[in-house]
């Protein structure tokens, strides 16, 4: 495949590994922010090819993993209401709430549909004026513009039967929270390439400066990831710390202005609870007052539904890079993709699922 195979080229991969080997002189901990990167690393075996000095730890950049339990419960409560078509990206459907998941709600008669884009949900709203169509708006800055656009369009068209259950999170505040943690082990970040494609990388400059940590916006293919690691290691070895863009084919310093504008127009920043991590100040998005008619939590009065995590699954520690999935006593035993105890096992981007799928015979 053109534009993909080039970034999977085994020759280039070997060359980059050799450069990394020559550059590294002591142990470093590098965190890849995004779950998509985690999966690429494990699927391609990048962690096994790297010199032993480099430890990769897996960040909180999996939207499925960090969406709080009560949001899942709210989603299920809305989906079960009469006359509702509840739409969602595929991998949210298997995340367990306190008692069930959206798949189960569907089997019990709820109209739950998988869509690839919020604009598809908007189309459903146009086609079914007699139904309430709700979209589960989760994700990072990557999905925020599309989700904002769907609300904006609905508003423009005066479409009254569309709403979003919003649980948006932002990357930079989470990175700061991790760096402030007394248990922090991270020396450098690979920032999420697609988040940066939207937001640019200017947001990370103050973080790199304040915490003296190299930050490298990085893509998702093996060559991208190795280039990102090489850039991070070079900075670490030289004692430097700045934002260095690896993902030049998609990311600019300013990012996608139009996308940022629509996000700011529709959403405002709030404190947000992250599943397994806790509340992080100014780390989420909610709909602005002007668009509150499109807020499904208000429309269906489920905002008060509060749930506590039944007990601590260590996905919180995993998402902070403090533990590896196979260090959890339940990993592969009580906790498997079939019977997930934590969201990190559910999502195809979740670190536990990645370990389970690609690594299990090594850890047994």
């Amino acid at each position: 495949m053109k534009y993909i195979d080039e970034y999977r080229n085994p020759e280039l991969v070997r060359e980059l590994l050799e450069q990394i080997r020559r550059t590294v002189s002591r142990p470093w901990v590098i965190m890849e922010i995004c779950g998509g990167q985690t999966h690429s690393i494990l699927k391609n075996g990048i962690d096994q090819m790297l010199p032993k000095e480099i430890e990769l730890v897996h960040g909180p950049g999996c939207p499925v993993c960090v969406t709080p339990l009560e949001l899942i419960d709210q989603a299920i409560a809305i989906a079960k209401k009469e006359n509702v078509i509840f739409t969602s990206f595929g991998d949210m459907l298997r995340v367990p709430g306190s008692h069930s998941d959206l798949f189960q709600a569907r089997s019990e008669g709820a109209d739950v549909r998988m869509v690839y884009s919020p604009l598809e949900a908007l189309n459903l709203a146009r086609q079914h004026p007699d139904k309430e169509v709700v979209f589960f708006a989760v994700g990072f800055e990557t999905t925020a513009p599309g989700n904002a656009m769907a609300v904006f369009q609905a508003h423009k068209e005066g479409l009254k039967n569309f709403s979003e259950l919003v649980s948006h999170v932002l990357v930079p505040p989470a990175m700061e929270a991790l760096l402030q943690s007394p248990q922090n082990r991270v020396n450098a970040y690979l920032a999420a390439g697609h988040v940066c494609a939207v937001m640019g990388w200017w947001e990370y400059e103050p973080i790199a400066e304040k915490y003296k940590v190299p930050i490298v916006p990085t893509g998702f293919e093996p060559v991208d990831i190795l280039k990102g690691i090489l850039a991070a290691v070079r900075q670490l070895e030289k004692g430097e710390h700045f934002v260095e863009n690896q993902y030049g084919r998609a990311v600019t310093r300013d990012g996608n202005k139009a996308a940022q504008e629509i996000v700011n127009r529709v959403f405002e920043v709030i404190d947000r609870k992250w599943r397994g991590i806790g509340t992080i100040p100014k780390s989420g998005l909610k709909l602005r007052k002007e668009f509150r008619d499109y807020d499904a939590a208000l429309k269906f009065s489920v905002g008060d539904l509060q749930t506590e995590e039944p007990a601590i699954c260590i996905s919180g520690l995993i998402l902070q890079g403090l533990k590896k999935p196979n260090e959890c006593p339940a990993f592969g035993k009580q906790c498997t993709p079939r019977t997930p105890l934590g969201a990190t096992m559910v999502s195809s981007e979740g670190a536990c699922a990645a370990y389970y799928r690609y690594h299990r015979f090594k850890t047994e």
Partner: protein, 352 residues
């Protein structure tokens, strides 16, 4: 940061282990399907033949051995690029019989039709069933039709059952694989599943992805003539190549080792999989087989297969090994190994 996790409480809760109602994933051919069979079906219906969990039952009558199999077809849309539900239903059962090395002879067919289906559509489905049966050399000898209310079906569901005769010397079974056996795949993977998904998701490419639906019985006869040492054979339908290899590894208690580079996937299919975030190893095929063959016969079998149009892209993709019994391990293009697991249920497209 608030709510700092507490290291001392280092355990996981058990919120939910089993669904108490049937989910779509129970029908997706993965782990939940296997669970349903093991925990619900077998305890009630189990017997020595059923418990072998082959795709067909092998029955002895004196010195004659028969293969008997059944399969139901629910596909949306009913007409798709490369075929329709009718030929799928004929080829599916023919292939299940052929995988035991049997020569398929007769089929039954049961229709469950939703009211409102046009007679023209039904006629087209029947014509393609007839053509598929003629190509495979089987006769449809008995049938049944039921009609359900609008909304209680999806246009048409078809069940086919079939009987085939197993030649004297042939003993093919999921339990016969030996370490050292070579694994032969008859052609490209993921064509059928991606043909269906592309239509459902409204994806279009420069060239249309077509289903690979085909009857494999003639190809299998060619293989059997060349070698009596074909130990196991299966058509990797729902759940894809990965699921089939896992089932076979478990049934024979051998390890399976495959090479990513050896597995053929069409470029358009690869692209569609990338776009949808789906792994072709887990996508359905309807006209491919995977065979475990004694190493000394593998090259001869491969050569014979390549002379048949349905096996022209056949390749050796790996071998059975003693290590990691019951598991499938794939070496990727960088020489790194990873486990290829059974899927839980349907593959879910990712958020971003």
């Amino acid at each position: 940061m608030n709510d700092q996790p507490d290291f001392s409480q280092f355990s996981c809760p058990l919120p939910k282990t089993d669904y108490d109602t049937i989910q779509m994933a129970h029908g997706a051919g993965g782990r939940l399907s296997a669970d349903l069979i093991e925990r619900v079906f077998l305890p009630v219906l189990g017997n020595a033949t059923l418990e072998k969990l082959e795709d067909q039952a092998t029955l002895s009558f004196g010195d004659k051995r028969l293969a008997f199999s059944t399969d139901s077809f629910v596909v949306h849309p009913v007409f798709f690029p490369g075929g329709n539900i009718g030929e799928l239903a004929v080829n599916g059962t023919v292939n299940d019989l052929a995988m035991a090395g049997a020569e398929p002879k007769v089929l039954s067919v049961g229709f469950i039709i939703e009211e409102g289906l046009s007679i023209a559509d039904l006629h087209e489905i029947l014509l393609s069933m007839r053509r598929a049966a003629d190509r495979a050399g089987v006769q449809i000898v008995t049938g049944d039709t039921k009609v359900v209310n609008k909304g209680h079906g999806d246009k048409i569901f078809i069940n086919t059952s079939g009987i085939g005769v197993i030649p004297q010397k042939v003993h093919i079974s999921a339990h016969q694989i030996k370490p050292g056996d070579k694994i032969i795949l008859s052609g490209t993977i993921a064509d059928h599943g991606m043909a269906i998904m592309s239509v459902r998701e409204g994806l279009s490419f420069e060239s249309v992805i077509e289903s690979d639906t085909a009857a494999l019985n003639h190809l299998v006869q060619t293989m059997i003539e060349v070698s009596p040492n074909i130990h196991a054979m299966r058509d990797p339908t729902r759940g894809g190549l990965a699921t089939t290899l896992n089932e076979l590894a478990q049934a024979s208690s051998v390890g399976v080792r495959i090479f990513e580079q050896a597995i053929p996937v069409r470029e358009t299919v690869k692209a569609a999989c990338e776009i949808l975030g789906i792994d072709p190893l887990y996508v359905a095929n309807e006209g491919k087989l995977v065979a475990f063959v004694a190493p000394e016969d593998a090259e001869d079998v491969l050569k014979a297969m390549r002379e048949d149009s349905l096996g022209k892209d056949a390749v050796i993709i790996g071998e059975a090994v003693e290590k990691h019994a019951g598991k499938v391990v794939m070496e990727n293009i960088y020489g790194v190994e990873r486990i290829i697991d059974m899927p839980v249920g349907e593959q879910l497209p990712r958020i971003c």
